[in-house]
């Protein structure tokens, strides 16, 4: 009876008793969710255009952030370091397309997936040799990101919202809108989507596979840089950050591998729900740290009912 009470009654009673705390938890979850959504977006873009499950997105986040900090450490002004980092990400995209993807065209999905794990390992080793393994502080102020915090007092309580989190959310929204417009309105964007639908048909109407792949990996690099700045501002930049890539995977399952809007909604849903679960159920009942698996188990349960994710394309199978 006590257990049932602790599962079904007490958490909700706690939520009602302290609505300001609940709001704070929801906000934290939302910010985390936006970051998950950004990483998932990088995955979705590459998957849509090339059917490659890009495991390297997480390390690209770290690599982009470290490159940015590295440029700044060598005396490059912060606002100049951003375009320089983007140039590095572009070179990386070209290199990946030339060296890894082009020879592997037409191989089974799992081979390409393994190749991206190979890229991940390579970038980890390469990055650690260049930048060293220690945790670095993101150059938040130099990038003109406000660092104060707003406080509200709803319901007679206290909620604090950090300005950099707010910047992150606004920045992510802008990025996503730009991306959606680009994908749906521009010629290049339509070419990306065409390639996602059918490689051979796209090739036969004159869409260049290698150009689009470089473009897509570059966009994924841009998203990685944005994610790296935002996440780095919250928690510093180190190779441990690579594990957040795993957080994007259940988001992908939930949202569907091909859906941009699914990635965003799934990311936010998982960010909020896992925070709520951790605070109200995980810590009192299970000893905490449930964030490592909650999202996966949630996604697994959803998938049992909708195998293509909430927003994925319907799977039609033929023999």
């Amino acid at each position: 009876m006590d257990l049932l009470n602790a599962i079904f009654v007490k958490p909700f009673a706690d939520m009602v008793a302290a609505p300001d705390f609940l709001l704070q938890v929801l906000w934290e979850g939302l910010v985390a969710g936006v970051l998950y959504a950004l990483i998932a977006l990088g995955f979705v873009l590459i998957y849509k255009s090339s059917r490659i499950f890009n495991f390297a997105q997480g390390i690209m986040v770290v690599f982009a952030a470290l490159t940015l900090i590295g440029f700044h450490e060598h005396g490059v002004p912060a606002l100049l370091a951003v375009p320089l980092t983007l140039a590095v990400m572009f070179i990386l995209a070209v290199a990946i397309e030339r060296v890894v993807l082009r020879p592997l065209v037409n191989q089974p999905d799992i081979i390409l997936f393994m190749a991206t794990i190979g890229i991940t390992l390579f970038l980890i080793g390469f990055g650690e040799i260049i930048f060293g393994g220690e945790n670095k502080v993101m150059i938040t102020e130099e990038l003109l990101i406000p660092t104060g915090s707003y406080t509200f007092e709803p319901f007679g309580g206290f909620v604090s919202i950090e300005q950099k989190d707010l910047t992150a959310v606004v920045g992510a929204v802008v990025l996503v809108v730009v991306l959606l417009v680009f994908l749906n309105r521009s010629k290049m964007g339509r070419a990306i989507r065409a390639l996602g639908d059918d490689h051979q048909a796209a090739l036969s109407v004159g869409i260049s596979l290698s150009t689009i792949w470089v473009l897509v990996w570059f966009i994924a690099g841009v998203i990685a840089l944005a994610t790296g700045i935002v996440w780095g501002a919250r928690a510093g930049v180190s190779f441990a950050l690579e594990v957040i890539a795993y957080k994007a995977l259940p988001v992908l399952m939930l949202g569907g591998l091909e859906s941009v809007s699914g990635a965003i909604i799934g990311g936010i849903a998982i960010g909020v729900l896992e925070k709520l679960f951790e605070i109200y159920w995980g810590q009192p009942l299970l000893g905490g740290n449930t964030e490592t698996w909650f999202a996966f188990v949630l996604a697994l349960i959803v998938l049992l009912f909708r195998p293509q994710g909430l927003f994925g394309e319907r799977i039609i199978e033929r023999v």
Binding site: L121, Y246, M253, A299
Partner: protein, 358 residues
Amino acid sequence: MLYRTAGQFKTSYRADHALFPVRQDAWLLAFILLLAFVVFPMTANEFVFRALLTPVLIYALAALGLNILTGYAGQLSLGTGAFMGVGAYACYKLVTIFPDLNLIVAIMLSGFFSAAIGVAFGLPSLRIKGFYLAIATLAAQFFLVWLFEKWAWLYNYNSSGSIQVPTISVFGHPVAGPNATAIVQYYVVLVIVAVITWLAINITRGRIGRMWKAVRDMDIAAELVGINLMKAKLSAFAVSSYIVGVAGALFVFLWRGAAEPVAFDIPLSFRVLFIAIIGGLGSVLGNYLGAILIVALPVIISTLPASVGLPLSSAMVEHLNTMIIGALIILFLIVEPHGLARFWAIIREKLIMWPFPH
């Protein structure tokens, strides 16, 4: 020349489907077994046992388990490390609850626990396919490692939170724990690995193995010709997790001697997956070739610079190691996506034909 098959006539279907239709294959295997059972133990020292021979066998066994699931039944799994952990923790509990139990029996029994957990986490495979399933197995990976950390009963409430292998003797010889000698451990591992490999080869050649291959190649078609998908997929998960669990128990009890939950985290899963893929999906031999490559490479990379007079710091060596392994994985995938086993198959084919090109 060496592989001339002339004169080896098959007069029945049985002979044609024998395990070694070509006599030279049997000789080659006998030679390798001779090396493994007699020559290596006589020549190797403690370091070679601990750093090369035993880990190669254990990783090859784990990769064999994964290969049955991914290479034969076509179900991609990223949770191998956690299933190895289940085997290790089950074996630890068995050994501490029943101290009189023979260690080898305990290791063989612990596989059943991971098989049960594997079937439970394999249930989603009935609905989910491809990468969605791979991510679903990651749920097992993260949940189980979390459980190893939080469920104190699993490690007998000791303060370090890790499992320490006590000294265990079998027939009067210390086999596990600090007093065991490397050569005894090597022999135990070798025998277990050899027996399981032999069983696995025969399972994959038989009715069940063909069922798995049909499901891998196209599951709907397999269903239409009357294969029970549920039975095929879940049996693949069970057999695979059993082997992986035994490998996990060997990993801790006969090699590492102690393990904390982090040891079973996702890098272990990926390492086993690398071995299976570089070795070759859907082959038994490939697991051994892949394991030799992945285990020997770090040893070579760490000893090579010192031997040619290039002193490198240990951190540098580690980073170089990660980088080179990443690059090699890409290289191998580009040169031969079907793995080292395919290389061997091509060489063998050439040797049989030699000196004629076709």
